[in-house]
Structure formats: C-alpha cells, structure tokens
Subunit: 212 residues, 2 copies
C-alpha cells in the first residue's frame, strides 16, 4: 500500500498571506487546503499520514508528530518504512484524483512534480530507503540530483494543478478559477472574488466586517 | 490537417523583461521562444502559420500579416478557415511534442490550456467558425463561456509546461530549470544562471559586457 505523507505545520501557517488573511483565517485556510489534498490521496487508496509539528487531527489521515524541521522529519520517516511513499504538500488544493493516480502508476523508481519557481510539490518514491529529501531553495534540481546519485530513474510529472502551490495573494486567483473544493468555498465565504484591473487578474476581498 | 496559428508581434516584444534584456535582446529572445514553439507544432504535423503584425520569417511556418489587434486578427482568421485550428502563444517555450499531441487527440469540440493568472495559452477548436476568441483579462473564463454559449464541449488541459508563459524576470527561471531548446540556450549565452537567495530561486545575469 502506498503511504501518502503530508507535512503540516498547524500554527501560524502561510504568513505570506497575512496581507489578506489574519492568523485564525490562515490556520483555517491551511486546514481547508489540507482537506482538499487528503480527500484525493484517500480516494486514490493511499494510507494518508499527516506529518505534523504538533498534535492535530484531520479526517481521513493518521497523525505522526515529529518536532523536527521539514527535511529532518521527512528523512526520519523515509528511513522508518519500506512501503512506497508519496510525499505531497498540503498547499496544492487543485490536485485531482486523476493527478494522484497518474503519479502512482509511473514505471520509474520515482516521480517528481515540480512547483513553480524551482520547488518540489510532490515526490513519489517506491523504495524510500534509497532516497532522501532536501526541500528549500531549488529543491527540484536537488531532488533530481539525489535520485540520479542513488541510481533511481525519475519521471517528471507535467501538471499545472499540482505545480500550483498557494503561498501569496496572487495564488488565490488560481483557486477561485480552477478549484472546486473546500479551499475555494472557504475563500468565497470570506468574500474573495476575482477582479480584473488593467488587464491583470487578481483577487478582491469584500469588506472584512462580516468575516472577522 | 490542423492549422497551428501563432500570434506574433516582432517589434519591441516582452517589455516586462526590459529590466534584464534590452530591446534587441528581447526581440531575439522572442524569436527563440517562437522557434521552440514552431518546432513542436511542426513535429506534431500541424501546418504552422505565424499571424504577425508585420512581415516576418521563421523557418517551419508561413506568415500571414494582419495589421489588427490580437482578437480581431484571430477572429478574422477563424472566420476564414474550416480546418481545425490550434491557437498557440509564442511565449510558451517549454511546450513539448507530447503536449501538442495530447491536445490534438481530445474527443471534445475544443481544448483550452489555461495560463497562470487567468489567461489562455492555447485553444484547439475543431470547428473554428463556431468559436471566437477574447484574449486579455480573465480570458480563460471568457473562453469557457464562449464555448458553453456555442454549445461546444471543452476539455481543460492540465499542463505546467504549457501554462508557463514567459513575461517577467521571475519566469526566466522556469526556462533555465525545465527548458531544453533555443530559448534556454539563448539565455545561457547571455550569462543567465539560476540563483538562490534566502531560499528563493531566481535568475542572475552575469556582467552585460560580453553580451551587449
């Protein structure tokens, strides 16, 4: 069985969204994105594990707490299991079931989904003990090199939906345009709409009064 | 036979790259991106037409000059042909042959590739007389609505490579990371390299002295 591992930090997440969401909203929004991801990994038949920095519960996943940095926690986890592992970020709510299924069906030893700007949004590793992660910076290139040095074949998965991680205000427009899950509904409940200004597409939030 | 139509403005293109490329370099860079796209449409067996605002030549394509705005030129072109048309932007140099082939094989009446931020990077229309384009602004939503109103079924194609249009300095990193064509080689010849600063991945250009 494939284990889907989703790293998650419940407290004060997504600080680059502070310009449009306060801390409580960011914490709830991060949970909604997480739920959109967990729904898909569960539907795809993965055993889903939340790798959290503190105790936390989300339906559909078991929680493992490791009070470690992202790389340390994931590498410790990789060393502790022999099952194929799908490491998937919690902030890619546009992911679909078809996306996950196509990753799990690759013939190569690993699959990597690059994020925009050189990041890595998902890694699938059939033999986790042969791999280690190195997130932050140009992690896509780092992960390609780590796989190469380990003699592992890699398929790079070409998907807009999974390459779209939500970090900044500008990213919210992608959820309003292409999302259909809980993160979109939550943004809409807060009064977010698509706005077009001088040809540029962005998001606008109606008066905070109701939402706050 | 499918006609691939590539709108192109040869003079002073990509002004948002002026911070790192002068006008002559932007014109050459736009040509390199165009060549990367034309190579793929040609390999896919399309008859490739450059829809240009002025006389221009690129190997592999015929040029049609229309001194009109983007929408007017494309809609006039759509009304003038009965062949299936693939409208594809010239600034998506990461496009692969597999991308094009998968679009041309859709069963629906149209296929749309969204760009990041609500744009449209490619439209495939089997019966062009039933469609009209409306670029600028949130064109992805506009094109979905135009298809719906015309009773045309649409498949939205999920591809990072084709959703990545190159407009700003930050976009250049995607070419250096994921490109393997002429645009990448041209950027490298100008001294562009990937840089990582405080965990953010960007591009750096070595001294202009040699390049200018």
């Amino acid at each position: 069985m494939v284990i889907a591992v989703i790293p998650f930090r419940p407290e004060n997440p997504k600080t680059r969204l502070s310009c449009v969401l306060d801390q409580a909203e960011r914490e709830k929004f991060a949970l909604m994105m997480l739920r959109d991801v967990v729904e898909k990994t569960t539907l795809a038949g993965c055993s889903t594990i939340l790798l959290s920095t503190e105790k936390y519960h989300v339906d559909g996943a078991s929680t493992v707490v490791k009070e470690l940095g992202l790389n340390e926690a994931l590498n410790e986890f990789l060393s502790e299991t022999d099952e194929p592992i799908l490491i998937i970020m919690s902030d890619i709510p546009l992911v679909t079931l078809e996306n996950i299924e196509s990753i799990l069906s690759v013939e190569s030893d690993c699959a990597i989904v690059p994020g925009r700007g050189g990041g890595t949004n998902t890694i699938f590793i059939k033999e986790p003990s042969r791999f280690r992660v190195d997130f932050y910076g140009a992690s896509f290139l780092d992960h390609m090199n780590i796989a190469k040095e380990a003699g592992l074949s890699v398929e790079v998965i070409d998907t807009f939906r999974m390459s779209t991680d939500i970090d900044e205000k500008e990213d919210l427009v992608e959820i309003l345009l292409h999302g259909n899950g809980e993160s979109r509904r939550y943004l809409e409940s807060l009064g977010f709409t698509i706005s077009v200004n001088k040809g540029r597409v962005g998001v606008h939030r109606d008066s905070h009064e109701e939402a706050l």
